[in-house]
């Protein structure tokens, strides 16, 4: 939930007196409120948290972060089906591997894995 994801503004419209945009997060498109970054324009990037743009971001930083999030599966975690994730985490933990671990490589079937 702390995750704030960079996205690209595709279009902007006024809805119920509120500035709203459709924003592309590496292929996932969502409605985003622009009230906190009102001067954001189509084609620009912003850091978006729970459907709200919080800060403008330069394109290079945005692309870099999006690529990394995609690689780490964080986009799926943010935009995937949370009911499936909750059911999976209730259904099984998977085996606990040997002590020590392999931090970057180990994608076990614990909490976060369930939402992949």
């Amino acid at each position: 939930m702390c995750l704030a994801v960079p996205g690209k503004v595709l279009d902007i419209e006024e809805r119920d007196g509120t500035r709203m945009a459709t924003v592309d997060f590496g292929g996932v498109v969502k409605e985003v409120c622009l009230e906190y970054v009102p001067d954001l324009r189509v084609g620009e990037y912003a850091i978006v948290h729970v459907g709200f743009a919080l800060q403008r971001l330069d394109e290079e930083s945005a692309r870099h972060t999006l690529a990394l999030f995609e690689e780490l599966g964080l986009l799926q975690e943010e935009f995937g089906d949370p009911w499936e994730a909750a059911a999976a985490s209730q259904g099984g933990d998977g085996a606990v591997a040997a002590a020590g671990g392999a931090p970057a490589a180990a994608l076990g079937d614990g909490v976060t894995e369930a939402s992949r």
Binding site: Y36, H49, G51, S61, P82, S89, G101, V111, A114
Partner: protein, 374 residues
Amino acid sequence: MKYLDEFQDPQLARRLLDEIRATVTRPWALMEVCGGQTHTIIRHGIDQLLPDNVELIHGPGCPVCVTPLEVIDKALEIASRPDVIFCSFGDMLRVPGSDRDLFQVRSHGGDVRVVYSPLDALKIAQQNPHREVVFFGIGFETTAPPNAMTVHQARKLGIPNFSLLVSHVRVPPAIEAIMTSPSCRVQAFLAAGHVCSVMGTQEYPELAERFRVPIVVTGFEPLDILEGIRRTVRQLERGEHTVDNAYPRAVRPEGNPAAQAMLADVFEVTDRAWRGIGTIAASGWRLSERYRAYDAEYRFSVDGITTREPAACRSGEVLQGLIKPHECEAFGATCTPRSPLGATMVSSEGACAAYYLYRRLGTPSTPQEASPVA
């Protein structure tokens, strides 16, 4: 250096690590405040790549983890009511209350819905005028502005059947509570980048000065964390204690003034209980008087709740950085993601979940005694 290849730019990571190694002459203990940073650190083994005398202590910055049990129980009670549609972010579904979680409430017929944004919950309220729609408003300074805007919208659009169950928390009082604890070992903070995207850096100089701790605003990607550590260690070695922004692409000193203005309008500062830690003065927000009608605690009678916290759960100590997750006897035994004792095991940002997921099950090494701050 085993895991360096996992970094997006291994060469830059190596250079930052070399600089950290070259700078450190004594043991230091740094706290990363945000749970998202904890996951990056554990996932990439950053703590294992650092020199032995730089210790990372995991902070209380996971909103799911610190939401008090009493509020979770209130959420469960409200969500069980037949006239209520209860909306929440997905990561609250498996957080254990005293005797159940939201996932179980739904399986027993409760209308629990997961939304991506609080505005989605408001839309559900518009579409269901004959039912009460309650949104579970938890989170730090990053999440509070979206929730504030949603309540503002409900009032502006005259949507009477929407309310917020509020449990928002603020970072600076938590830093103060950590620094004034007699068992505190923290000598510097990696501040949570996205909290600062909203609040800027203006709340921190006073804390840095009063407690003589460097506070370095840090992002969430592996290289952001290494850069934050490099700058923090450099300050510690020089005997400095200033606020430094290592995440300028997302954080401006003034933060987001529009979001701050909305927070000041919709919320007012209040004391808050933190799960596993206890009440911290002025550490949270509640709806201000003008918006009180949208407060689910006022709208529904959910007083008189008796909570039951599992005695074996040591998540409070984990959240305060007093122990590492695998030092808890229940970790990986009676406490697993399948049957979590505390929220730190179930939250996707929880420290216990990070240790479980990335197989940090080994015997902890005894941290070196930290150096006195110059």
